[in-house]
Every structure is written in structure tokens, then in C-alpha cells.
């Protein structure tokens, strides 16, 4: 009797209840607060309390946020999209190329490349010298400059993800392709890259979220209102004397939507990418 009971796992109801209540208080209330404040009018929002809105100003606040400072949010969304798409594409293609050669070919370069990848993960970028270099090559305050900076800072993580995955693809496949007369370019782009689809999705999703949410690099390397990315628009609604909290929170809500969509569609890939290396250490 007791043996049977212990063999069938029973759900611990009390623990579940406590966990759910705590999760609502700790994690859902802040999000609900953002949502509620975003649809209040300015006067009620400035009370900063957790209450039901007197007036539902969802549409009006949305329009106000979009129109603020000459449609800055629209420009910022366009900028962020260009930045994210371009930098993630480049870092995934270039990172995969490095990982491919690094994994397949044992040479005296391997030690150095591995050390550089590790350095890229650990070392904090030197800010002002990077600006100096960008100025020297004429890319400071330009979108291509920021794109290349994001590529440089993101490569190490991508290479790490890809190297582990390429190790699972049998070498015989390379040899078969080579016998069929494929050169390096063909071998990589036509044979290997299509097989990397799972890890490509993982790194694209994870890095897109990182780059889209990045605040520091645009702040340093692409200053100026015309160049703002979405993270910088959050400072549109606070001044020293008054903050339009309803619009601020509407803005927070709007820039949370892209990561939310990513999460809903690619939940499993994000989890896989972010926990990579957890088991191997």
C-alpha cells in the first residue's frame, strides 16, 4: 500500500499553492503595474499606485507615445531593427565559419583562437579606445560602426555555441562532399550550414534579444536623437521636474513586445541557447 503510494508521484498541493502565490506577488505584480499604469491618464499615473484606471486611455497613450518628439519611437524601432538584423546576421555567418574551421582542423592556431574566444566572453570592452578606433576608420556615430561593434562583442558567444554543435556532425559528410568536387565555400554554405539549422535558430534568437535590449553600446557608439535605438527612447518622458509616467510605461510595454513574441515562438531554443555549457561546465 505505502509502496504503491510512494511509487506514483503525488503533486504537493500546499507547496504548489505557496509557489504560485509568491510568483504572482514577486513576478506578475510588477508586470501588471506596468500594464495598468500604461493605460491610465497622466494625473492618475502620477500617483504611482497599484489601482484600476479611472479612464482607459490605451489608444490615446499609444498615439501620444508614438508621436512624441517627432515620431522618435518609430525611427528608433527602424534603427533597432536594422541594427539587430544586420549585426545578428553577420555574427552568425562569421561565427559559424570560425567555429567550422576551428572544430574541423587541428592546427597551431587553435590554441590562440580558443584563448581569444574566452577573452571575448570575459574581458569588458574598453570604451573610449573603441570610440577612438571608430573615429580613425570614420565609423563613429554611424549605424555600420555600431553594427560592427555588436558583431565584435557577440562573436565569442556564437562561436562557442556553434563549435559544440559542429562537433556532432560526422566528418564523413565533409569527405563525401569533397569527393563530389565541392570546394570549401560550397562545402560550408551548401552542405554544413543547412545542417546547423537548430543552433542557427538558437543563436539568432538569443543574440537578437541581447542586441535589441542593448543600452550601453548605442549610448556610447551611436549618440544623437536621430540615431536613437528603442532602449534610449525610454528617457523621452522623464525630465528633471516631471515625468509622464503613463507614457513612460506605455513605452516600456511597447519595447517589451518584440522579446515577448520571440519568447512565445522560440521558448525552447532560447532555453537551449542560454543553458548551453551548463552540463559540460
Amino acid at each position: 500500500m505505502t509502496v504503491l503510494q510512494s511509487r506514483r508521484p503525488r503533486k504537493n498541493l500546499l507547496l504548489s499553492f505557496v509557489a504560485i502565490v509568491l510568483s504572482v506577488i514577486v513576478f506578475l505584480v510588477p508586470f501588471a503595474f506596468v500594464l495598468l499604469t500604461a493605460i491610465k491618464d497622466q494625473q492618475q499615473a502620477s500617483l504611482l499606485d497599484f489601482s484600476w484606471p479611472h479612464q482607459f486611455r490605451l489608444v490615446q497613450n499609444f498615439i501620444d507615445v508614438v508621436q512624441a518628439r517627432d515620431y522618435m519611437l518609430i525611427i528608433a524601432f527602424i534603427n533597432s531593427t536594422i541594427l539587430t538584423v544586420a549585426s545578428v546576421t553577420l555574427m552568425v555567418v562569421f561565427g559559424a565559419m570560425v567555429a567550422f574551421v576551428l572544430q574541423r582542423r587541428k592546427s597551431r592556431w587553435n590554441g590562440l583562437v580558443n584563448a581569444l574566444v574566452l577573452a571575448g566572453l570575459i574581458i569588458p570592452p574598453a570604451v573610449v579606445p573603441t570610440i577612438w578606433v571608430l573615429q580613425k576608420i570614420g565609423l563613429f556615430r554611424t549605424m555600420p560602426g555600431l553594427i560592427l561593434v555588436e558583431v565584435a562583442f557577440g562573436l565569442a558567444f556564437v562561436i562557442l555555441l556553434f563549435r559544440a554543435f559542429i562537433g556532432t556532425i560526422p566528418r564523413e559528410l565533409d569527405e563525401a562532399a569533397i569527393i563530389d568536387g565541392a570546394g570549401p565555400m560550397r562545402l560550408f554554405f551548401r552542405v554544413i550550414l543547412p545542417l546547423l539549422k537548430p543552433v542557427i535558430i538558437t543563436s539568432v534568437v538569443v543574440q537578437s534579444v541581447f542586441v535589441f535590449n542593448d543600452f550601453t553600446n548605442p549610448l556610447y557608439f551611436l549618440p544623437g536623437d536621430q540615431n536613437a535605438t528603442v532602449q534610449l527612447t525610454l528617457y523621452n518622458f522623464s525630465s528633471q521636474y516631471s515625468t509622464q509616467y503613463n507614457l513612460l510605461f506605455m513605452n516600456i510595454l511597447l519595447i517589451t513586445i518584440p522579446p515577448l513574441i520571440m519568447y512565445l515562438f522560440f521558448n525552447r531554443q532560447i532555453v537551449a541557447g542560454m543553458t548551453a555549457g551548463a552540463i559540460k561546465g
Partner: protein
């Protein structure tokens, strides 16, 4: 074995521009490194190296003048700057410590038999994906000393909450707590991956021996989740030592300099036009991060092999 085929394929493609040298015949050409190496070299390696030189100069927009260790002397003499070093260490240790403990507890909870496991996992993890600045501004409002939701709720049960971000002795720790709120989902996820990979036979064997939940945790989960612990500690230390955007969004280093960390000092000095001093801050941060993370990860990983 594959040499002949490789040679033939190279011969047939001898018109290709890169097939000039004998060594370039490998199907895994070294020039695949090139695009990444150029970008990484120019925008990461070069700045990191020249930072050491520029940190020894008085540097403005127009020119730089060599002044030896003047910037470092300034950095370590100015109380506001030295404390930023301590704040950085406190912040990193507090956040990674809490992430390890809470992450492990949450992971054990979320791999046990409870209702709504999927919901709980998503809700714990989602803040990881939300904009750091958005989280920072939201909690700045929630932590408002008079009107904020946190202190309002505390006053209902008769506790007078502190001025989380306005009281000099709490500001840094409050920001650290928000950092944990946002980042604990990742730690939890890494621990879940580690716990799930533990073979079920261990738990079955332990049950035969009459082990309880605590024994399972103490003698199976804790030692076998060690690689996950190493990852969590390393990742959150690196993140915590570099942390800038959350602190900037919540306190801008204030009140006074009581929540300034090295990364925010770097930004402030850069804004003020002291490029040399800012770069010296960067070098200090570089030294702190490598001096802590490299030996630690080597130590943690070596212990793992001995097990």
C-alpha cells in the same frame, strides 16, 4: 587518405583566386577566420590593447599627452573612485551569491512534483528577456519611498519600508536585489538543465536505501549539479562586475556616489571629457575581472575533474 581527392579538387578549381598556394588546398581554409578576425581584431583586441597606453595619458578630444601613472594615482586617491571599486565587488558578490542560492532552490522546486510547473518556469524566466532599462525604471517607481507600491504594501502590515534608492546605505543593495529579480531566471534555468541531466538511477538507488528529500538534495543534487554551479557563478560574476545599465537606470550612481560602480565611473568620466581617466577605469575593471574570474574558473573546474 583524403589527400588525393583534396589535391584533385584543388586542381580542378585552380582558376579560383585563392588556390595559389599549396597550403590553401585544405577543405577547411584558414581564411574562413578572416572576416571575424578583422572585425574582432579591429574593434575588440586593438581597443583593449591601446587602452593600456591611453590610460597613461591626459587625453582630450584633440590630443593626448603622456603623463605616466597620473590617472591611476587620481583614481586611487579620489575617495569617490576608490569606493566605486568596493561597490563593484560588493555588487558582484551579492548578486552572484543570491543567484546561486535562489537559483538552486527554485530549480529544485521547479523539477519537483508541483502543479503549474510550466507556468512557474516561464514566469521566473521571462524577466531575463525584458529590457534592463525598462526593469530599472519600473522598479525605481515601485521603490519610491512614499508612494511606491513596495512601501505602501509594507505599511499595510505595519512595517515602515526604507528609502530603497534614496537612503545611501541601501541604494546599492536595492539595485542588486532588482538585478537578482531580473537574472535569477537564467540561474534557475541552468540549474534545471543540470538537475534534469542527473541519471534517475541515483534517485532510485537512494530510495531503496531509504533516503529522504533532504538526503537526495544534499548527497545527489548538490554534488552532481556542480558544473551548473560553476556556470552560474562565472556568468553572474562576469555580469555583476561589468554591470552598468541597471545601476544607471535606477540611481545613476547616487545618492552621492553611494552606488557608483567602476562601469558607471567610466561613463561619468567619459561624459566629463576625462578620456584618460575613463580609460584608466576601464583598465582597472579589466584587471579586476580577469584577476577574479580566471583563477576562480580554473579552480572550480579543476575541482570538478578531481571528483
Amino acid at each position: 587518405m583524403a589527400t588525393t581527392t583534396v589535391t584533385r579538387s584543388a586542381e580542378t578549381r585552380s582558376s579560383a583566386p585563392s588556390a595559389g598556394r599549396v597550403r590553401a588546398k585544405s577543405p577547411y581554409p584558414t581564411w574562413f577566420y578572416l572576416p571575424a578576425a578583422v572585425i574582432y581584431g579591429v574593434l575588440f583586441i586593438v581597443p583593449t590593447l591601446i587602452a593600456f597606453y591611453f590610460s597613461l595619458t591626459r587625453w582630450s578630444i584633440f590630443d593626448s599627452k603622456f603623463i605616466g601613472f597620473g590617472n591611476y594615482v587620481t583614481f586611487f586617491k579620489e575617495p569617490a573612485l576608490v569606493t566605486s571599486l568596493w561597490h563593484t565587488l560588493i555588487y558582484a558578490v551579492v548578486t552572484s551569491g543570491l543567484k546561486v542560492v535562489l537559483g538552486l532552490l527554485l530549480a529544485v522546486l521547479l523539477t519537483s512534483q508541483i502543479v503549474a510547473r510550466g507556468y512557474l518556469r516561464s514566469v521566473v524566466f521571462f524577466p531575463v528577456l525584458v529590457s534592463t532599462i525598462g526593469v530599472g525604471l519600473t522598479f525605481t517607481v515601485l521603490m519610491n519611498p512614499e508612494k511606491g507600491l513596495i512601501n505602501q504594501s509594507l505599511s499595510v502590515i505595519g512595517i515602515q519600508g526604507p528609502g530603497w534608492l534614496t537612503d545611501p546605505s541601501y541604494a546599492l543593495l536595492s539595485v542588486a536585489l532588482v538585478d537578482v529579480w531580473k537574472g535569477v531566471g537564467l540561474a534557475t534555468l541552468i540549474y534545471i538543465a543540470g538537475i534534469v541531466s542527473i541519471p534517475q538511477e541515483y534517485f532510485e538507488a537512494a530510495r531503496v536505501d531509504g533516503a529522504g528529500a533532504w538526503d537526495n538534495f544534499r548527497h545527489i543534487v548538490l554534488p552532481l549539479a556542480r558544473p551548473a554551479t560553476v556556470t552560474v557563478i562565472t556568468l553572474s560574476l562576469i555580469g555583476g562586475l561589468r554591470s552598468f545599465d541597471l545601476i544607471w537606470a535606477m540611481t545613476r550612481g547616487g545618492p552621492g556616489f553611494t552606488s557608483d560602480v567602476i562601469a558607471s565611473v567610466i561613463y561619468k568620466q567619459y561624459q566629463a571629457g576625462f578620456y584618460g581617466l575613463s580609460t584608466a577605469g576601464n583598465v582597472v575593471l579589466f584587471v579586476v575581472v580577469t584577476a577574479i574570474v580566471l583563477p576562480l574558473s580554473r579552480f572550480l573546474n579543476r575541482k570538478e575533474v578531481e571528483l
